[in-house]
Amino acid sequence: MAAVAQPKLDALSARLAGLSAPEGGKWARAARDTARARLEVMGLPAPRDEYWRFTRPATLNAPEPVPATVFDHSGEAPVFGAIDRLKIVFVDGVFDAEASDPLALSGVEIEPLDEAARADIHWAREVYGVLEARGQNPVERPFATLNTAFAREGLVIRVTGKAAQPINLIYRHASETSDALIHHVVKLEPGADLTLLENGPAAARLNKVLEVEVGEGANFHHVRTQGRAHERQAVTHIFARLGRESTFKSFTLTVNGLLTRNECVVEMLGDDAVAHIAGAAMGDGSRDAFHHDDTVFVTHDALRCESRQVFKKVLRNGAVGAFQGKILVKPGAQKTDGYQKSQSLLLDEDSTFLVKPELEIYADDVACSHGSTSGAIDEEGLFYLRSRGVPEAEATDLLVIAFLADAIAEIEDAGIAEDITGRLEAWLKRRRG
C-alpha cells in the first residue's frame, strides 16, 4: 500500500486533539480501539483524494465546527407530524429522554448507545463498527471510522417482529457551535419489519453513522429529511448488510444546508435481496452556499438481487450538486439487476452538477445500467402551463415537483410520500412569497 499522504495524517491529529475516548464496557472499548487504530492508518480526507473530488472536506475535517445559526421553524407543522409514531429526541446530538416517548415498542428493543456500551457483553458488538469496517474496502471512509471510535450518542435497536409503529428520530439544533457525533445500530432479525424516520438538522456540524443489519426476509424502510437550517454541515453514512430475500429502502430529502455529504454503502449478501436508495435535493445558493453530495456504493455478492439508485437534484443560484454512485457486481453474482439514475435540473446559469456513475462488473448474466442527465427546465412544459394561465414562478415549481416525483416514488408508504410532497409544495410556495 502506498504511504498515506502527510496532510491526511496532519488533519487527523488536529481533529483528534479535541476529542476524548468515551468510557465503555469490554465490547465497546474493543470496537472503539480497533476503529481508532484503523483511523490512524488512513488519516482524514484531503483535498486531492479522488473520493473527495467533488466535495471539499476542509470544514468537516476542522477541529471546530463553523458556527451555524439555529433555523426558526415556527409556524411550520412538524415533519412526520401526521404519522402515528414513536418519537425519540436528540438535542445537539445528545439523547433527550424527557422530550422523548418511553423507549418501549412492541416487536422492538431500544437502548441508548451509552447504556448498551456500558455492558461487557452485548449483541450490538456483532454490528457496531463491523459493517462500517466492511464498508472501508475498496474506498476508505474515514469520517465513519472516526465516528465509530468516538461517538457516545446514538441508539441500539433490535427488531424481532413487526414494529407496532415507525420510530421517528428527531434531531433538534439548539447551540450555534454544536458538533454532534451520533452512531445508531439497527438489527432486524429474520422476518422483522421496521420503518425508521429521521428529521432535523441535529447540530451546527453533524457526523452520523447508521449501521443496519437486515436479516433473512426482513424489511427496513428509512425516510429522512435533513433539516432546513441554512448553515448546518453534515457528513452521514449508512452501512447496510442484506440477508436473503430482505428489503432495504432508504429515501432522503435535503433542502438547505451549507454542506451535506450522504454516503450509503449497501452489501447484498443473501440471494434475492432488494435495495432501493433514493434522494431528492433542492438547493438555493443565494443565501448561503449549498453543496450536496450523494455517494453510494452497492455491492452485489449474491444471486438475483435487485438494486436501484434514484437521485434527483434541483439547483439554483450557484448551488452545487454531486453524485458518485457505484454498482459492483462480484464474480458469481449472476442475474443481478442493477440500476442507477442521477439527474439534475439547473434553474439558472450559475449552478453546477458533478457526476460519476460507475459500474464494475465481474459476472456475465446481469443487467446493469445507469443514466444521467442534466439540463434546464423543460421550456415546452413551462409554455404549456403558462398558456393555461399559471404564473411562471408557480409553473416552475410544478415542474420541479414533477421532476422530483421519481425519487419520492421510491418511498414505500404512500402516506409518508404524500407528506413529503406536501411539504415540498408548501416550502416552494413560501419561497414564492
Binding site: 446559469e349 452538477f353 457526476v355 460519476k356 464494475e360 462488473i361 445500467s369 444521467s372 442534466s374 434546464a376
Partner: protein, 511 residues
Amino acid sequence: MAGTDEVVIKEGVEEDTVEAVRSLGGKYKYGWETDIEMDYAPKGLNEDIVRLISAKNDEPEWMTEWRLQAYRRWLEMKEPAWAMVDYPEIDFQDQYYYARPKSMETKPKSLDEVDPKLLATYEKLGIPLKEQMILAGVEGADEVPADGANSERKVAVDAVFDSVSVGTTFKKELEQAGVIFCSISEAIREHPELVKKYLGSVVPQSDNFYATLNSAVFSDGSFVYIPEGVRCPMELSTYFRINAENTGQFERTLIIADKGAFVSYLEGCTAPQRDKAQLHAAVVEIVILEDAEVKYSTVQNWYPGDENGKGGIYNFVTKRADCRGDRAKVMWTQVETGSAVTWKYPSCVLRGDDSQGEFYSIAITNNHQQADTGTKMVHLGKNTRSRIVSKGISAGVAQNTYRGLVSMHPKAKNSRNYTQCDSLLIGDKCGAHTVPYIEVKNNSSRVEHEATTSRVDEEQLFYCRQRGIGEEAAVALIVNGFAREVLQALPMEFAMEAQQLVAISLEGSVG
C-alpha cells in the same frame, strides 16, 4: 493464473470451440518478425540517449532542448496508477529507445531505394508501399462501388518501422495540393516554423507521465499539414510496425488542419509475437482551425499476448484534438482489438464556438487483455456539441473499462453532449466497467449519459442457431450488430478490416 482450461464450459458447447479458445494465442496473424540488421541506441534512458535520438534525426538545437526539458520533468513524475489495469512494473532502463534498420542509415531518396526486406514486410502486412490505387489486403474493398467514386480512391501511407519512417507514398501528388505529409523528423528539419508553433500546443510537454516520456524520446511519426481551404485529395494513413525486441516505440503524430481544410486519417499497427511485453507510448496532437474537419480512425491491433497473458504490447497513448477555431470538427473512431494493456483516451477540446467532437469506439478484450479506454469532451466554446458511442466487449479473463469525462464549462452555453457506453460480457470470468465523469457548470447545456452492461442475448443467439448459423459465427454476428454504430463511422477501408477483426478477436470466446 486462470487459463482457458479453468473456464467453466456451458452445456452444449462443442469441443471444437474449447479447442479454438486454447489455440487463440496462435491466431494473431501478424505475429512474425522480420530478420533484419538493426542499429540500436544503447539500452536504458538518460540525457545522452535523448541527445543521441535527437542527433540521429539531425534535429536543430531547439528540438534537442525541448526533449531534454521533457526528460527532466519526466524524472520527477510518477507512473499513474488510477487505471483499472494491472501489469508488472516496467523497468524503463531495460529498454531500447531507438532501433533503426541498418539499411536506413542514409535516408532513401525514393521508395525504389528502400531495403526490399522492409518493403516485403509491409507487403506481407497487406500495406504494399507502392503507389497503388487502393489499400490492398482489404478483401472486397474493390467490390463496393458505393457512390461510383470508389475506383478513384487513393490512400497515401507513411510507414514507420520501429523508430524510423521507412517511406511516404504519394508525396508528389499531395504536394501539388499543398498538403504536407511526411515523417515528423523530416518536418522538424523542413518545416520548423510549423512544428515550433504547434508541437506540444495540444498535449503539453509534461501533460502526463507517458506523454512526457514520449516528448523526450519520440523517434518518428507522421506530420500532416492541410493548408487553408484544401480538402485533402486522398486519405492519409500511417502504419506502425514494432519489430525489434525489447524496444519501445514512441511515435509522435502532429496533424494541423488550417481554416476550412478537411482530412481523413487512418492509423494501423501490429507487432511480432514475443514472450516479453513491449512498450508503446505515442502522442497524437491534432490542431483544427476555423471550419476545418479532421477524421481520425485507428485499428489498433498490436500483439495482445498469448492465451496465458504472456507478452504483448503495453499501449499507453495520449491522443488529443483541439478544435481551436469556430465550427471546427473532429471525429475519433477506434477499433481496439490488440495490446496486452491499453491506456488510451482520445480527447476533444471544443474551444471554438459551434465546434463539434465525436468519439466512436469498440474495444474488444479477450484472454488476459486489459483495456482502460475512453474519451474526454471538454466543452469551452458556445454551442459546442459532442457525441460518445463506446462499445466494450470482454471475453476470457479480460478486463475492459470505459473511462470518460464530459465537462461543460460555465461559458459553454447551449452545448450538448450525448454519451452511450455499452458493455457486453462473454463468459463469467471477465469484467466490464464504466467510469464516467460528468461536470456541468451551466444550465443551457444538456448532457445525457446512458450505459448498460449485459451478456449476449440468449434469444438472439437462439434465433441465429435455429437458422443453422454456428455458435461462434452467431456471436460474431450479434457483436457486429452491437457495435454497428461504431463500425459505420469507420472509413470503408477500415470498416471491412474491422468487421473481420471483430470476428477473429472473438473466435473461441463462446462458452
